[in-house]
Symmetry: C2
Subunit: 219 residues, 2 copies
């Protein structure tokens, strides 16, 4: 089905270095031949949320930038976030069995990125955002972030370099100005998307979910 063809796309004096395996198939996609490359295993995801993971470490609030997070369960509601084992934040989560996920707005991109550049082990990040506490008294919530998710640790899964922390959502706080009908409003939040080592705005709506697909059978 596939033919692997080595291509020289780098330094011609060192053909092996930048060689890509180009996969050509006999299939046709639309009017054009499928032309895919393989890039090897990597921790890739198309788009991700930019968040601040809040944890108390030795009694002090700390925030760490993270994008490797999503929803893990509907009932009970759970979220998960992958954190490097060596991170200061991991110590706080283990210590208190709780953490928070905070959604910063685009206007706080500098503060947000700062929390990913420096470690709480060396720099006090407790003043980058103002902290408040909700139902869980040990998961600091960043006031400036329009959404704050309080999480009680359900399980941590050892995946290798990273622990995947799965937390039950205990409460969600939302800036009143960023809510519509009692729920977080994406456009009002102006959240930061993460992809390809860069931060992005949310663009235009394309269509409604659980609805757009009804056009498929009519095609």
């Amino acid at each position: 089905m596939f033919r692997a063809i080595p291509l020289f796309n780098g330094d011609p004096s060192n053909p092996g270095k930048d060689t890509l395996k180009l996969l050509l198939t006999k299939h046709h996609f639309g009017e054009t031949k499928m032309d895919k490359i393989t890039i090897g295993p990597m921790p890739y995801m198309s788009v991700m949320p930019t968040l601040l993971v809040g944890a108390n470490v030795k009694g002090k609030a700390n925030y760490m930038t993270a994008a490797w997070a999503t929803v893990a369960c509907l009932a009970p509601p759970m979220v998960c976030v992958a954190i490097n084992k060596t991170r200061f934040t991991a110590k706080g989560i283990e210590e208190n069995k709780s953490f928070s996920l905070n959604v910063p707005s685009a206007k706080h991109v500098v503060e947000t990125d700062h929390c990913g550049l420096v470690s709480g082990a060396h720099d006090d990040k407790s003043k980058v955002f103002k902290s408040f506490y909700g139902k869980l008294k040990t998961a600091p919530l960043a006031e400036e972030c329009p959404v704050n998710i309080e999480c009680k640790l359900f399980k941590s899964v050892d995946c290798g370099s990273h622990l995947l922390y799965i937390g039950e959502v205990i409460e969600i706080h939302v800036d009143k100005a960023c809510a519509t009908d009692g729920k977080p409003d994406t456009e009002k939040l102006d959240p930061i998307m993460y992809a390809q080592a860069a931060y992005w705005k949310v663009g235009k709506p394309i269509d409604k979910a659980f609805s757009a697909g009804k056009k498929y059978l009519k095609k």
Copy 2:
């Protein structure tokens, strides 16, 4: 620190029904008083990727729309996706210990949403996308999607209604036309973001990650 104030914001003849607890704090955020509402526990995430989970079920390719996915580990590279236990796709993952995550472009939003509206148990979805196979012979990859991630099941975590499937990334296929310097290019991919029961385009870049934060200390 907090005062919970019940508010009537719904039917005045049934004040309990739509009551929101409004949390007012004594803190000040910028020039305005922090004004947050609590919305209770829910499976919330600010922005998420829209993906098609590919799995062979009883030897036939099937694709399921999913947004509850992210990166789970750097080394080895892993991704995870939450899937309802009752889903047809879950059967295929358990059967073959493998699955794929496929990144559709905005132009395929109708096909993508369709795969979330109908179940493979009742409707044959093997023809919605053309399938090809890579290193794992049991994880169907959707040709029309510009990125295809082949995953070998590492672990499934029972979270309640959903299983969180964690898979080791074995190979990634990228449309040559959507790659820059051998990596998936977000703007060329034109991926579909999911938030608030809707699909969105990726917007404008805000800043570079691991760089924007350097301005923080200069402030």
